[in-house]
């Protein structure tokens, strides 16, 4: 726009001006700084070199040297094995055996869908979102003794685990929660007592999107048809008969899933929960509703 006109102008000028030579050009102002010698009261005497020491004697210590003690730049060695560790997500493990234990001990209600909040509530699992923990990694320890039909939502599960759960007629989903949502799930009571409105869950980052959109890992963003195909594939691979979910009396409970923007089951973003008076405040303002529904 403006710069274009300037270049045009410059070019037209050039066409009319005499030939450019060394005799009719000069550098931009400020190119040459004439160093003034230090003379007189302020520039003279020690000439900016201070008193004694390596500074005045022009025998400077090397950059980073800390007069003998182990300098900062040498204290932390290069340990390339944890390069980029701050960018890696961690999923603290939780075995199927543990899951069966808490089901047996009645710390988990299997008549309702299970998610990370209910597992943390049971008291047998905890994680710290501070330390880049992004949720539950359901491991296959105890997969052959697992015997419970559940609707569970974890953050990471391998094929064996998915097979073990589906063998019993259950449903497993892998879902992504951003760290803020994880704090909420870890301690919902504390969040409700802070008087904030329930926020929206964020979408997974680009390097996690593949996992959560693939049917093979039962991602929450995957195509349901692909998932049902993969259920059949797993049934054939691990040699069990595939349960027909539609015929199940608990069909509704087993198919209950959260919206990708929902953090808690049954509670939508934008609501304010009042624990003391046992009431829920739902916004009616259109802008707020639009924001929370986006």
């Amino acid at each position: 726009m403006g710069s274009r006109q300037i270049t045009e102008k410059a070019l037209t000028m050039l066409r009319s001006l005499p030939r450019v030579s060394l005799g009719n050009i000069r550098d931009n102002p400020g190119y040459k700084k004439n160093p003034k010698r230090g003379r007189g009261q302020h520039g003279g005497d020690k000439h900016g070199a201070g008193n004694k020491g390596s500074g005045q004697r022009q025998n400077y210590m090397r950059l980073g040297y800390e007069t003998g003690n182990n300098p900062f730049y040498l204290r932390m060695p290069h340990e390339h094995y944890y390069k980029g560790h701050h960018l890696r997500r961690q999923y603290p493990p939780f075995s199927l055996h543990e899951l069966q234990l808490i089901i047996d001990k009645d710390r988990l209600d299997i008549s309702k869908p299970i998610d990370i909040a209910s597992i943390v509530k049971s008291g047998m699992y905890n994680f710290t979102p501070d330390e880049k923990h992004f949720g539950i990694n359901l491991t296959d320890v105890g997969a052959d003794c697992f015997a419970a039909k559940i609707n569970i939502e974890v953050q990471w599960a391998s094929e064996q685990v998915i097979a073990a759960i589906e063998k019993m007629g259950g449903v497993i989903t892998t879902a992504y929660y951003d760290p803020h949502s994880l704090y909420l799930l870890r301690d919902p009571k504390k969040f409700f007592e802070s008087g904030q409105s329930i926020p929206r869950r964020m979408i997974p980052p680009p390097d996690a999107i593949e996992y959560y959109t693939s049917a093979k890992s039962r991602g929450y963003l995957a195509d349901p048809e692909e998932i049902s195909k993969d259920r059949l594939r797993l049934a054939q691979k691990y040699g069990y008969e595939l349960h027909v979910l539609e015929d199940d009396p608990n069909y509704e409970m087993l198919c209950e899933r959260k919206d990708p923007r929902q953090i808690f089951y049954g509670l939508e973003p934008g609501w304010v929960i009042n624990l003391k008076d046992q009431c829920i405040l739902k916004p009616k303002d259109s802008e707020l509703q639009r924001f929370f529904a986006s």
């Binding site: 802070s194 008087g195 964020m202 979408i203 999107i209 934008g270 304010v272 009042n274 624990l275 008076d277």
Partner: protein
């Protein structure tokens, strides 16, 4: 947990004792005097409360223990903030006297959040999926191309091996041939001289050179003759063809 609640239990026991002591007289008094002593009775109640409360807790802590918000009036800067008031609403509900409007984000908050999300999550899910699919496709193509290249090269591998062997053999053969030729010439010259002369001798070298020249001439002649023969054969063939037509 027990330790925490002990003073309360003590208190309740004490209050029950005092209540039983005072309520009787109060009831009696109220029966006797009707309405005009309400202010006094309230004041008396307050005084009794003060005497009852031997927990030595501050007013704020006493309120918290009894499930009320600690301060009714703001006493410090944080009490004026949105965060504190939201907490009061969350913990004490409508009794906290807070307008629930502040529980939701303000317009500015919403705008800021949206801007943040636009930068932090620039791609939609579909876009990310396509990006990943493209990346996988690229990888697949690259590996496929490499595989094809290698397969093609493998096919030619046998031929290359053969060619290499031939080349080496040819070189060796040439070297052999040259050596043999040299040997033969030396033999001939030796025979010519009749006695074993040092090959490095001058006369030997001259003779060798002469012989080599003669050999070359003969070879050239032979080549020319061969060519002529070919030409004649060709012409003859042409003639034959012309006649047949």
């Amino acid at each position: 947990m027990n330790l925490y609640f002990r003073p309360k239990l003590l208190q309740s026991r004490l209050t029950s004792v005092f209540r039983s002591a005072t309520t009787v007289s109060e009831v009696v008094q109220n029966e006797q005097v009707d309405i005009d002593d309400t202010e006094n009775s309230l004041a008396r109640e307050a005084e009794i409360e003060k005497k009852r409360n031997i927990s030595r807790l501050s007013a704020a802590h006493y309120n918290v223990i009894n499930g009320r918000r600690p301060y009714k009036e703001p006493m410090a800067l944080p009490h004026l903030t949105v965060k504190y008031n939201r907490k009061m609403y969350g913990k004490y509900g409508a009794a906290s006297g807070v307008n629930p409007n502040i529980c939701w984000p303000s317009k500015l908050d919403i705008e800021e959040k949206q801007e943040y999300e636009a930068v932090a999550y620039p791609f939609t899910i579909k876009e990310m999926m396509t990006m990943v699919a493209e990346k996988r496709e690229q990888e697949r193509l690259k590996t496929q191309q490499r595989d094809n290249e290698i397969a093609a090269k493998f096919a030619k591998l046998g031929q290359w091996k053969k060619e290499l062997k031939e080349k080496i053999a040819k070189k060796e053969a040439e070297v052999e041939a040259a050596k043999l030729k040299k040997e033969r010439l030396i033999e001939e010259v030796r025979r010519h001289f009749g006695f074993t002369l040092d090959p490095r001798d001058e006369r030997f070298q001259e003779m060798l050179a002469k012989r080599e020249k003669e050999q070359k001439k003969r070879e050239k002649q032979a080549r020319l003759e061969a060519r002529e023969k070919l030409m004649i054969a060709k012409l003859q063939q042409k003639k034959v063809e012309g006649v047949s037509e």
